[in-house]
Structures are given as structure tokens and as C-alpha cells.
């Protein structure tokens, strides 16, 4: 853009006279913002007289190019200086090109940091608000259990729990096999094959079964929660529920939370069994530890405490997965693509949180010596 000349700019003028638009004055960003757009509204004559046109920059040129679009036909320019004609051509060619993003140029690190902080704070506030609302909704449901919606609750139990049995079972079984095989080979070199029982049972019961189940459920059920609520937001069904007089949280979130808190511990117990069974299978097949020996050793090694450490984490993970899934669902805004995006975010966040919280539990348990 040309620099503003030192002398005050003549105001931009446009007069419609005798079938032509007479342009005069400075058509620059400063002059135009000071004096406003001088072009009259409505359709313009098709002859532009630029002989009295003073300064011109891209802003003025863009305005004139827009004005050309409002004429009935092609515009005939008169008295146009060469440099102005060039500028107009430039603007005509590039006006539809995607402008670089306003802040893409060079934003300071500090500005980026500040913007990011604000965004995260806003997000934290939203999460807290949702958490609070969900807590209130759950509390209400616990106070008035007869108002709890049984049908959606049972439907959720079936979908999140019963229908997940095959995949949870198979994967736990395979995980048991892998742990027993990898560990057993090391133990065999020391002639301590029997310790494969300790390895498999403690690993499965304390950690692997619950983590594996939580990850599967996050992928299967958490994502489904987000997709369902997100789709309902896109189709305005959530708003429709509100106008009918229903709290969307009561109908959509509370049954999901309750169902998952109920189902995940049960799935974990099932995963415990399948995982230990997988280990038992390999111990017998590869390391000569028979089922009877395995079970005898298991009785000596495993106490109720180990079992509870694993299963006790399940309701916490269930709560995390359900809350993240529902929260991300409510965060959907816009169209169908937002549903997909938010579903991905939901799965990643849920798995991330499950593993972080599991690590926190490990620290806690080791401090408590359980």
C-alpha cells in the first residue's frame, strides 16, 4: 500500500452525472475511513470517469471493483492513469484469493501464550460447570430413585456391558497369554516357572484387566455417548427436550453414568477371570504348570486385597469415561463434522485420563502399602 502523503487528503468523491460516475479525491484507506464510502447506493452508470482521481490504494481499488459489479454492464473507464489501472487489475485478480489469516503473520509468543491460557481457562470453567450440573443431576436421581429412568438405564447396561462381553473376554484372554508367555520364558531360565502364577494373577488383577477394560469401554461406549449426544445437539433435539420441559442431563447423562459405574466393575471381574485363564492355559502348555498347581499357587499368592485394588478403580474409570463422553457430546456445535471431531477428542481424552488416574492410583497404593 502506498504511504499516506504528508498533506491532508482530499475527501473521496463520486458523483453520478449524465450517465457517468465522476471520481475525485483520494481513494485511500485513511480518507475513506474518515469520510465514508462516497459511492451512491443502487445501480451505477457504466461509465467511470477517473480523470480527477487523486491517490488510490488497494482499499479504494477494491471498493471501485465492487462498484463495477453493481453496474448493469461492463464498465468503461475514462482518464484512468496507468498506475491506477495496474492497481485495479491487481485487485480484480486477487480479491477472491484467500487472505492470509489475520494473526498468521507474526504473533508474539506472549500473545499466543495468553490466548492459549484464556482458551484453557474457559474450557476448565465449562468442564467444572458440566461436572457440577452432572453431580446435581446424579444427586437428584439418588434422592428420588423412583424418578430414575429405568428403561434408558437398562438399555445402557445392555449396550455398554452385555454387548461388550465378547471383546473384553477375548482381549483379556490374549493379554493373559502374552504376559504368561513373555514372563514365563524369563522365569524358566532361573528354573522358577511356578512364579508365572504370581506374575499373571497379580498383573491381571491389579492392573491389566481394569486398564484394558476401561480402554475398550472408552473406545466403544464413551465414543458412542459423544456421538449420540452430539448428533442430538446438531439436530436441535437437545433444545427440543428443554422446551418440552426435560432436563437433558436427567435423560441423557444420568442413566449413562449410572449404567457405566455399574457395568465397568462387572466387566473388570470378567476380564480378571479371562486373563487369569489365559495365563493358566499357557502355563500348562509351555511351562509344565498344571491347572491344579496353578490354582494351588494362586490361592497362596492372591488375597482379596489384590482383587479389590483392581476392581475398586473400575467405578472411578467409569465415571471418567462417562463424564468425558457426555461432556464432549454437549460441546458439539455446528454440523456433522463436529460430531466426528468431538468423538475423536472424547476417546483420546478418556483413555488419557484413565491412564493418568491409574498412575496416580499406583502412587497412592504404594504409599498406603496395599
Amino acid at each position: 500500500m502506498p504511504d499516506a502523503p504528508p498533506e491532508p487528503l482530499a475527501p473521496p468523491l463520486a458523483e453520478c452525472q449524465a450517465g457517468r460516475v465522476r471520481l475525485a479525491g483520494a481513494w485511500t484507506v485513511t480518507a475513506l475511513s474518515a469520510h465514508g464510502d462516497p459511492l451512491p447506493a443502487g445501480e451505477l452508470p457504466t461509465c467511470f470517469d477517473a480523470s480527477a482521481l487523486g491517490a488510490l490504494d488497494t482499499t479504494g481499488a477494491l471498493l471501485l471493483v465492487h462498484a463495477e459489479g453493481r453496474c448493469a454492464g461492463a464498465v468503461a473507464w475514462e482518464g484512468l492513469r496507468d498506475e491506477h489501472a495496474e492497481l485495479l487489475d491487481l485487485v480484480r485478480r486477487h480479491r477472491h484469493a484467500a487472505a492470509p489469516h489475520a494473526d498468521a503473520a507474526s504473533v508474539g509468543v506472549l500473545a499466543l501464550l495468553g490466548r492459549d491460557t484464556c482458551r484453557r481457562l474457559a474450557e476448565a470453567r465449562d468442564i467444572l460447570a458440566f461436572l457440577g450440573e452432572a453431580c446435581v443431576a446424579c444427586w437428584r436421581a439418588l434422592l428420588l430413585p423412583h424418578r430414575l429412568r429405568l428403561t434408558p438405564l437398562l438399555a445402557n447396561v445392555q449396550r455398554a456391558g452385555f454387548e461388550a462381553l465378547p471383546i473384553v473376554g477375548l482381549l483379556s484372554f490374549l493379554m493373559g497369554i502374552v504376559i504368561a508367555y513373555q514372563g514365563g520364558q524369563q522365569l524358566r531360565t532361573y528354573g522358577a516357572s511356578l512364579f508365572v502364577v504370581d506374575l499373571v494373577t497379580l498383573t491381571m488383577l491389579r492392573e491389566m484387566a481394569v486398564i484394558l477394560t476401561a480402554i475398550i469401554v472408552a473406545g466403544r461406549t464413551g465414543s458412542a455417548y459423544t456421538a449420540q449426544i452430539g448428533t442430538m445437539r446438531v439436530t436441535e433435539e437437545i433444545d427440543a427436550l428443554r422446551t418440552i420441559g426435560i432436563r437433558p442431563l436427567d435423560l441423557l447423562v444420568v442413566p449413562k453414568i449410572f449404567a457405566l459405574v455399574l457395568v465397568l466393575p462387572l466387566l473388570t471381574v470378567y476380564a480378571d477371570m479371562m486373563g487369569v485363564f489365559g495365563g493358566m492355559f499357557i502355563a500348562d502348555l509351555m511351562f509344565g504348570v498344571s491347572f491344579t498347581e496353578f490354582l494351588q499357587r494362586l490361592e497362596q499368592v492372591v488375597s482379596l486385597r489384590h482383587f479389590l485394588v483392581g476392581v475398586g478403580k473400575a467405578p472411578v474409570f467409569a465415571l471418567l469415561i462417562a463424564l468425558v463422553g457426555c461432556y464432549q457430546g454437549f460441546k458439539v456445535s455446528g454440523g456433522a463434522d463436529a460430531v466426528g471431531r468431538q468423538t475423536t477428542v472424547s476417546v483420546v481424552q478418556a483413555i488419557f485420563l484413565v491412564i493418568v488416574v491409574d498412575a496416580a492410583f499406583s502412587v497412592l497404593f504404594s504409599a498406603l502399602r496395599v
Binding site: D37, A41, P45, L62, E236, E237, I244, G245
Partner: protein
């Protein structure tokens, strides 16, 4: 039940969606909020419904302040542009849902729910579809079910957000006549949002024309069409020809035409805009007092009317003129012919810079 809207302001960040809007909707009326997209009409409707909180101002239902009342307690029926029917429920269940989910104390018995739902489905003339699912219905049918669902909870106010926006022209025309008849039958205070001026003029008792978060004019369909209060209303309601001119001491000079404009008696030498509807221009082959000379540039027959584009001689501006097909067949105007234009009705507005509505893109606004 009447609705009063008092000085509602709503901002989204730096953008002001509604600026001190006030509006009264008397009980039993059907009011249209009409305006281009982004004028704040849907925001206003959502504020009335309670789905959006105003930054300032009040909403009164029947004289009672409802601003802080939750949407659940406002007893409004809301119809969405994209129907928002519950996909996994049958038509019957959709309509019955609002009654089914009530707490036991206020929930009607099952037999009554059934009777009421079937009555509503009969009202929207779709009782034969009770067992179907929304996905199996056409757009027009879905919207009627959505209306039945909104009416099921016996709302005190019915709010419709571009109810026919997603439908094709034929269905839309049919449905809006049907909505008008339905409203005459049940007389629920209703507000509907539309950007289609034809729809607003045809259906509503009163039309509220909005632009950029302001109300431009409130009036019956006749009033807003015949006596537009501002240039914006003139341009938004139908086609219009715009002339630039000057006004001085009660006389407007529009393209060489001198038109008395007594309402601007006190104005001296001001720029003026004059609006004429295309069908308010008389065409003739004879010159005469108060006529503009022009050359026919194009003749376009459009169904029942014929539209002529005439280049007015003094300014070179294109003027659109609409005449009936019979007239056209009797006179057979041809392109290239010289004609004289005589506006039958012309509105003059002073000072276009301050109140001209559709300004060109102000890219340089800083």
C-alpha cells in the same frame, strides 16, 4: 397470553445481535419476525423461549417477568427449522413424550395421553402416521409432527424458528396456509421467524421487520408493504427501483422529475433517495408532464407479469417496470423503443448516508 419484550440487548463478543429491542405481542396474535439473516430475529425468538439469556432487558409473559424463568417453566412450544424430532421414537411417542416425562403428580393417565395425542395428530392431519418413525416421513409431514409435539404440552406461547425454511416452495406454500388456518382454530399467541417476505405477509397478523439488531417497522402486512417506514423496509419487501436525487422545500428532484414531497417541507438542499415499486410505474408512448424518458433495454416475460428494463435517459440508471401480461400483449413494447415512465407512487427519503440500508461492503472499516 401476551408477550412483552422490553429493551432486550444481546451481544456475542463484540457483535451486537440485538440492541434495545422492544416489542409487544398481544394475546392470540400471529406475529412474524422478518429480516435478512444475521438481523437478530432468531436470537430474539430464542430469548423469548428462554434458550438464550439477554444481556439486558426483560421478557414479560402476561405482564409477569419471565426473564429469569427457565425454559422448562415458560410453557412455550418451540418448532425448529430442522424439525428436531426424536429419531428413535415413533411419531406417536414423539408427540406423547412431553406428557410422558412429567412427574407422576401432573402426568395424565395413559388413556388420556393416547386420546390427546391422537387428537393432535388429527389436528395436523397425520393421525394415520402414528406408528411411523420420523425418518420415514417427508419434510412437510415432519414439520407438522414437530408442531403437534410442540402443542402437546399445551403451551401458552408457540414459537416457530423458520418453520418452513427447509421445505421446497410448493410444500412451503401449502404449509403456511395450513398454519394460518390452524392458528385461526387454536388461537395460541404465536411468533414465527422468517426471512421470506412473502411468507410473512401472507401468514402473519402483524409483521415485525428487523435489521441489524433493530426493529425497523411493526405493522400489519398491508401497512408495512404500502407504507414502509424506512428505506430498508422498502427494499426488503419486494423489488424496488431506487433513484438518487435532491430534495428542497417540499419538492424532490429525481432524475429531472419534480415530485412534490410535502413531508420534507423543512428540508433544504439535501440528498434524497426515491423508491418506486416496479408495478407502480405507468408506461406510455406519449410524453407528458411528470414523465421520465427511457429506452427499453430488455423485456422478460415472467409468468403472469412481464418485466421491462428501461434505461432512464437523464441518469443512465436502469429502471425495472412490471406490467401485466394482458397489458403487454395489448401494447407489445419492444426493446430499443423509447417510452415515458410516470411513477404512480414514489417515496422520498432524505439523507441516504445516515439511513441507507444495504451499504456496499465496507472492507476498510477499521
Amino acid at each position: 397470553m401476551s408477550i412483552e419484550i422490553r429493551n432486550i440487548t444481546k451481544r456475542f463478543g463484540a457483535y451486537t445481535a440485538l440492541d434495545e429491542v422492544s416489542l409487544d405481542v398481544p394475546a392470540g396474535e400471529l406475529v412474524a419476525l422478518l429480516g435478512p439473516s444475521g438481523c437478530g430475529k432468531t436470537t430474539l425468538l430464542r430469548i423469548v423461549a428462554g434458550m438464550e439469556r439477554p444481556d439486558a432487558g426483560q421478557v414479560l409473559f402476561h405482564g409477569e417477568d419471565a426473564t429469569d424463568r427457565h425454559v422448562r417453566e415458560r410453557q412455550v412450544g418451540f418448532v425448529f427449522q430442522h424439525y428436531a424430532l426424536f429419531q428413535h421414537m415413533s411419531v406417536f411417542e414423539n408427540v406423547a413424550f412431553g406428557l410422558r416425562v412429567r412427574p407422576r403428580a401432573t402426568r395424565p393417565p395413559e388413556a388420556e395421553i393416547r386420546e390427546r395425542v391422537m387428537k393432535l395428530l388429527a389436528l395436523v392431519q397425520l393421525d394415520w402416521l402414528a406408528g411411523r418413525y420420523p425418518a420415514q416421513l417427508s419434510g412437510g409431514q415432519r414439520q407438522r409432527i414437530a408442531l403437534a409435539r410442540a402443542l402437546a404440552v399445551e403451551p401458552r406461547v408457540l414459537l416457530l424458528d423458520e418453520p418452513f425454511g427447509a421445505l421446497d416452495t410448493q410444500v412451503r406454500k401449502e404449509l403456511r396456509r395450513w398454519l394460518r388456518r390452524l392458528h385461526d382454530e387454536i388461537h395460541v399467541t404465536s411468533v414465527f421467524v422468517t426471512h421470506d417476505q412473502e411468507e410473512a405477509l401472507e401468514v402473519a397478523d402483524r409483521v415485525v421487520v428487523m435489521n441489524r439488531g433493530h426493529i425497523e417497522q411493526i405493522g400489519t402486512p398491508d401497512e408495512v408493504y404500502e407504507h414502509p417506514a424506512t428505506p430498508f423496509v422498502y427494499q426488503f419487501l419486494g423489488n424496488v427501483n431506487l433513484f438518487h436525487g435532491r430534495v428542497h422545500a417540499g419538492v424532490a428532484d429525481v432524475g429531472g422529475l419534480r415530485v412534490p414531497s410535502p413531508e420534507h417541507d423543512a428540508v433544504e438542499h439535501a440528498a434524497a433517495l426515491a423508491y418506486v415499486r416496479p408495478h407502480d410505474i405507468e408506461l406510455s408512448r406519449q410524453p407528458g408532464g411528470g414523465a421520465l424518458r427511457g429506452t427499453v433495454a430488455e423485456v422478460r416475460p415472467l409468468g403472469p407479469i412481464v418485466r421491462l428494463e428501461v434505461i432512464a435517459a437523464p441518469t443512465g440508471e436502469t429502471v425495472e417496470v412490471e406490467i401485466t401480461r394482458e397489458r403487454y400483449q395489448a401494447e407489445t413494447f419492444r426493446s430499443g423503443e423509447v417510452l415515458y415512465l410516470r411513477p404512480r407512487q414514489l417515496r422520498v427519503f432524505v439523507n441516504p448516508a445516515a439511513n441507507a440500508a444495504p451499504e456496499p461492503a465496507r472492507d476498510f472499516a477499521i
